[in-house]
Symmetry: D2
Subunit: 352 residues, 4 copies
């Protein structure tokens, strides 16, 4: 029995941390957030961020945008024909939506975007996908749209159902600029005193580190639309605990902190996550512990409108990322603190 | 009991696929590779890649380089002093190694690299770290080096133990250009007949798709040192099954396929993974199922020289990625195949 | 007199090369294109490209898009307010256009785009600007829009008239993805025999080099939306000769070749230039030699509709770039040819 | 006569601005810097920067590094052979230098770097090139090295004399990380009072704008190793006036400002230009006005050691860029100033 389980599942250590206080698009003050990870020092670090933001009045969450995309790749006789075909498709989205509607009641075509390279057409289809992250929904829609397009415009040829201009699980600029997944902004203001009491540092020290590490450091590393310390860690833990397709942390990691000392001398700290690809239905969501976790997070509300559960989930994911960012940056302002915290935790784990 | 387990672990579906045949740096022909993922259609897809490459004579694996890095961030009075201090440190690596040696018997300083921006010094320390992926080992080494540097050069100031020029779990160009983790190249040559038999396509069709999707598609998406279809998926599954810090799939996803039809009309297919951050000891490796998996992969050999187990692990990770790439690209050359394969698998899962 | 001229002007060597044959958006077969450059071997190289494409039936030019942008940078109390203000502005473009109309009869607001980072609003304003490249026109429009916006939404604050999300004369992904300047595709098909006769090489050799150099080489260099050999050279020469703001070759250099052997065994060669920032009126256009050159190119047609002269100019710029790309790639397929051509030209210049 | 000149040269308006005061690697306080450009408002803007930095004690210039590169592209039977061949070449640089020495007395091989992608070898050769920018010198060296390498290692094949991993006149990360051209840091400290007097703004306002525009704005635009306002403008003007290959402003534009308020409340302002490709001999340097300008800048010193004239030139180029950055950022802190300055200058020009 145990062997069976050993063979059929990877058991990733999981713990809930919090409580989190969120305001704005989600209002709650007692949320315990589950994270599954091999890097268990992450739990107390995020918990510290949750604690200080809770005392500070919470984390304001705002969903800027949401959409899921698939870019089909077609070929025209030349660029001039490519342009004409794109313009015709753009002008006739109702016909495309009619095809899409046959594939899912949730998939709604939002818009088309294109890159024409020589005679190649990278046609980026943007959809709303209800509470699903939508990978399969948009692939299915594209799968039906392609034959329709090829029949309607016989001078076009099929190259691929995905031309990497979508783009899924690969670093890009297109996802941040045109949108893919939920675009969530998380903001908090930490009074100077709480900064000292919980984070053992000052607003000025955090801002200074943020500028030199998150901003300039990422720029010299040849980063791309990335300005954070370790957002990927928090997203991985959150995604595994909630049944997400965790390879999407690749684009999720392209998040941007903006931090400053405000007019009152307090710390304004924000994390903007333009590419949070999450859902509350679909692959992975049927597992018992995932269902438990979604329920714990209030994201399994059967009475909610389509999309509401997954937007809530995205906001919580973003707030979790912010807490981890705030806590790590605070730690790194103090020489030696990061390593001694790690060593202390490892000794505790070893002795427990 | 079940509740306890439900609360303390995320149970990710896991399956071993194969057998894989590897040649070159690793020689084996019966390797079953475990992958843990919510996206279970990945298993048969990778298995198909393993099958065809096995018949074709295997996958040649080559380790180009290995190193782990941490970039400390210091501040000088001006750029001229910054340069002089860097030159002095570069010339006195023996002194630095003496400090490093106190922190670990495995950590060896390989080289220093720098970016000077105004008066800021992004000092990138490169280490070999034995069989550990080395995150903690290099942080620990940096933690001891910083006070030594600040005492030796009192005109320098501490800014951060990590200046994001390392860079960990964030997209960058520096990791690919200067190296971080194992740099592994995987290559295979698939005879035209096997291409048809196992992949239902031709070498020409795969090459054509690869150029327009992996290369041009990634370029127009604003990608960075990325030319693949879904390497992140295979790495995630492999990393979770083998106890790795899976957030490192962010840089792992920056992998590059190179594919062509060779002089015999056969398919040369390669996947180059410059940033495979893996280890066979350290966090996550003590869990029972992880130990089982490492043993199954031949990566828990107690008689091996330091570093050999983890290099083997990196080669297997790379080969797994190649198989998934080959299989998905082949599928996408055939309109409709991708979606119908997904639907078929989901029906099977539903009925099982 | 000579001293005066020496002090007041830099005299850059200039020559006209051709004749060029263009088809599609521009139809001509006797166009001589002026290029000003210190790198005079460029002239015979581009001329060779013009010659072979002329014999091959010409270069098809297509304008995919045109717009000029300026991104103002504003600050809101928080992200939620930022989003609401953006949505209001987006919904009321007629009011914005009314303000814009006071600044120029040519400036037309096409659309708004935004990035919200924390509480920051990077508002990208897109305009059509007639025959001007439009740098000043959009700055002027933004300069008038800002006070209007701040009065209409008193909870917003001014940060900058340009927030670098425009973006001018700096490498970016946004210009290629959302558009800035003219987006021009140039295509030609060179019969195999002409390839051999004029370029001393084969279609296969050029395609092979293109893939390994333009595509993979640019990717490993950490390039961004760039896949060419030396587009910057041709644009610089063309921009100086036609009075353009030549610092815009920075984004102009982010051009993408797509090359393949077609079904007939001939060479399909295309250069896509998504960010050609050119104009036929404005700064630099009043100089005598510039006027002469614009006239020579047919881009000073007083009877043309607004925008037509500058679209023609963009097409010619793109065709010139294609010819230089084709010629250099052909040369590099032959070991030693590049250097011996350079040496020969330099000897000629020395003896002349 | 005039017609001849009209046909054979582009006459770009040129003016000298200053005086500049430089300290550190170059010591001078009366340097007048020539700039050729169609965008003549650039002159008074740079002049303002020169004026305030002169009063503030000058601009400290530091050359961090200098090298010129060419990446040849070769093909091996597989990655394992590729690695062995690279290791052999790396271990035998004396033999390579012997070949290089036959091509130029100035070209010295500094180091080799490689990217191995599948079986492809992108071999980046780094040279010092005396006072030449070195484009031709390194191409010539590579041209001689290739046959030597192919004879020594008969299992390697030629692909290209340039594999785009050099990389010349294209955006990249490799040039900044591994170095190409002169890497120059320019720094100045402007007392608060001078900031107000000459720039009509405060240190805090400039820092705030710099962070939101240069840093965050460039990041959201999908920039790459770029954090400035308009470095390309100053480099273009300087390059044209001094006979440089101005297409190299593409990589030159990838410069990074670092700005902060120091402990005294004064403004620390720095511009780091990692890729200044300049020379004082070679193409373009023989023209009369170029010789005059190089002499005016003190960069035609026949008694100087090899490389010294071009290092001086690079420092002056960097200082010129800093002045333009400082002046424009200051202007943009004041709503309306940028546009009104432009309009005023244009009225002056129109009436003059």
């Amino acid at each position: 029995m145990k062997n069976e389980s050993l063979r059929n599942f990877a058991h990733i250590p999981m713990q809930s941390v919090g409580p989190f206080k969120l305001i704005g698009e989600v209002e709650t003050d007692d949320l315990m957030v589950p994270m599954a990870t091999y890097e268990t020092p992450l739990w107390p670090s995020v918990a510290r961020g949750a604690r200080v933001t809770h005392h500070a009045g919470g984390i304001r969450v705002t969903v800027i945008d949401e959409r899921m995309t698939r870019s089909v790749l077609l070929e025209a006789p030349n660029a001039s024909v490519a342009l004409q075909r794109f313009q015709a498709l753009k002008a006739d989205q109702a016909a495309l939506q009619a095809v899409v509607s046959e594939t899912s009641q949730y998939a709604k075509l939002l818009d088309l975007n294109v890159q024409i390279v020589g005679n190649l057409i990278y046609l980026r289809l943007e959809f709303s996908t209800g509470d699903a992250s939508g990978h399969n929904m948009v692939t299915n829609a594209a799968d039906k749209l392609i034959p329709w397009i090829l029949e309607t415009y016989p001078d076009l040829n099929y190259v691929s159902i995905s031309g990497n201009y979508c783009t899924d699980k690969k670093v890009s600029a297109v996802n941040g600029i045109l949108g893919r997944g939920k675009n969530v902004v998380c903001e908090t203001t930490i009074p100077r005193k709480l900064c000292q009491r919980f984070l053992k540092t000052t607003p000025e020290a955090i801002v200074d580190l943020h500028i030199k590490k998150d901003l300039i450091g990422s720029i010299v590393s040849g980063g791309l639309r990335t300005a954070n310390a370790h957002v990927a860690n928090m997203l991985l833990g959150f995604y595994l605990a909630t049944g997400q397709d965790a390879a999407n942390i690749v684009e999720g990691s392209q998040s941007i902190n903006h931090v400053e000392v405000n007019a009152n001398g307090d710390l304004y700290f924000s994390t903007t996550l333009p590419n949070l690809i999450v859902g509350t239905v679909g692959n992975g969501k049927g597992l018992d512990f995932v269902l438990d976790n979604l329920e714990q997070l209030g994201c399994a509300d059967q009475t909610a409108k389509p999309g509401q559960n997954s937007r809530r989930l995205a906001c919580i994911a973003g707030a979790t990322a912010l807490c981890g960012e705030l806590s790590l940056l605070a730690a790194q302002t103090n020489p030696g603190e990061l390593m001694s915290a790690h060593l202390k935790l490892e000794r505790q784990n070893a002795s427990s």
